[in-house]
């Protein structure tokens, strides 16, 4: 049976249950609900502090009517960051490497921001299609370009997350295979490659967090334009 490096992105089944289901339910287990006690346990305290700071920082540029999105953004951020980081553990499966999942997040949320903009302030929303101060001959071309860039936003959101995580995982697997194969032949080169692998893993941890953050940040920017 031919195996390839892309096999790590196929969700395996055990007893008919796909691993992607377990991987997607795991963040729910890792974030217990705060109780009504005055002081919660350490895990909940740390998590609520982080989530509170993040939501505060995200909601600062939005006006008051945008604050209804706070729960959605905070929970999506926690979900994405947990899934990305858990995917870096050995043998685990990362659901966000599946384009279907990321597009499932990107398209409805982007569409919601566009529809809100068109419903509440259609003039301003359409006005975004033409930047201020463009020379008159350029106007038709620019409107077409801006419309295309508007419609490409959900695609870019989804593909950005997928591509970053997929590329990271592939690189880790490739370089790890290289280290493994080089070890009996040229140990010095293998140690060098192993240090590259270590640095790459650190990068992947950062990328996992940053990509989740960028996803939410861009959505909040799209919301700011349209709210």
């Amino acid at each position: 049976m031919m195996t390839s490096f892309f096999d790590q992105f196929a969700s395996p089944y055990l007893l008919g249950i796909p691993l992607i289901l377990v991987a997607m339910l795991l963040p729910w287990l890792l974030f217990p609900a705060p109780t009504s006690r005055w002081i919660n346990n350490r895990l909940i305290t740390v998590q609520t502090w982080l989530t509170g700071r993040f939501t505060n920082q995200l909601m600062t540029p939005l006006n008051f009517s945008g604050h209804k999105w706070a729960l959605l953004f905070a929970s999506l951020m926690v979900f994405l960051i947990t899934i990305n980081l858990l995917g870096l553990l050995p043998y685990t499966f990362t659901p966000t490497t599946q384009l279907s999942l990321n597009m499932g997040f990107a398209v409805p949320l982007w569409l919601a921001t566009v529809i809100i903009g068109m419903k509440n302030q259609p003039t301003i929303a359409l006005g975004h299609l033409l930047p201020e101060g463009t020379p008159i001959p350029l106007i038709p071309a620019l409107i077409i370009i801006e419309t295309i860039s508007l419609f490409i936003r959900p695609l870019a959101l989804g593909v950005r997350l997928t591509a970053n995580l997929t590329a990271g995982h592939l690189l880790i697997q490739l370089i790890a295979t290289a280290v493994f194969v080089l070890l009996p032949m040229m140990p010095a080169v293998a140690i060098l490659t192993a240090s590259v692998l270590f640095l790459l893993t650190l990068l992947e941890v950062a990328v996992a967090m940053i990509q989740a953050y960028v996803f939410i940040l861009l959505l909040s920017l799209y919301l700011q334009e349209n709210i």
Partner: protein, 89 residues
């Protein structure tokens, strides 16, 4: 003095003798509701023993994550076993 006789259904798993295991499994509730209650009960026991404590450390989460890694390995074993002594990867 002999302990009070406890029926098989009421015993915890650790108290069941190996020969009684199939019979004990027969008394458990495997309906969807029962499975959900079982998972929730297991989660609550783990949470209250290792995480919801005054000075919970990294051990509670670390054990959970190691268990997740082991579970993922078991899930992917059918695929990974081909990698063991391959000549070309």
């Amino acid at each position: 003095m002999a302990d009070k006789a406890v029926s098989l259904a009421e015993k915890k798993l650790m108290d069941v003798k190996l020969g009684q295991l199939p019979a004990w499994l027969g008394t458990r509730d495997f309906t969807p509701n029962g499975v959900v209650r079982g998972i929730r009960g297991g989660y609550e026991r783990y949470y209250n023993k290792y995480i919801n404590v005054k000075k919970g450390g990294i051990g509670g989460i670390a054990m959970f994550l190691v268990g997740y890694v082991v579970l993922s390995y078991a899930w992917e074993y059918d695929h990974i076993k081909h990698d063991r002594w391959r000549k070309y990867h």
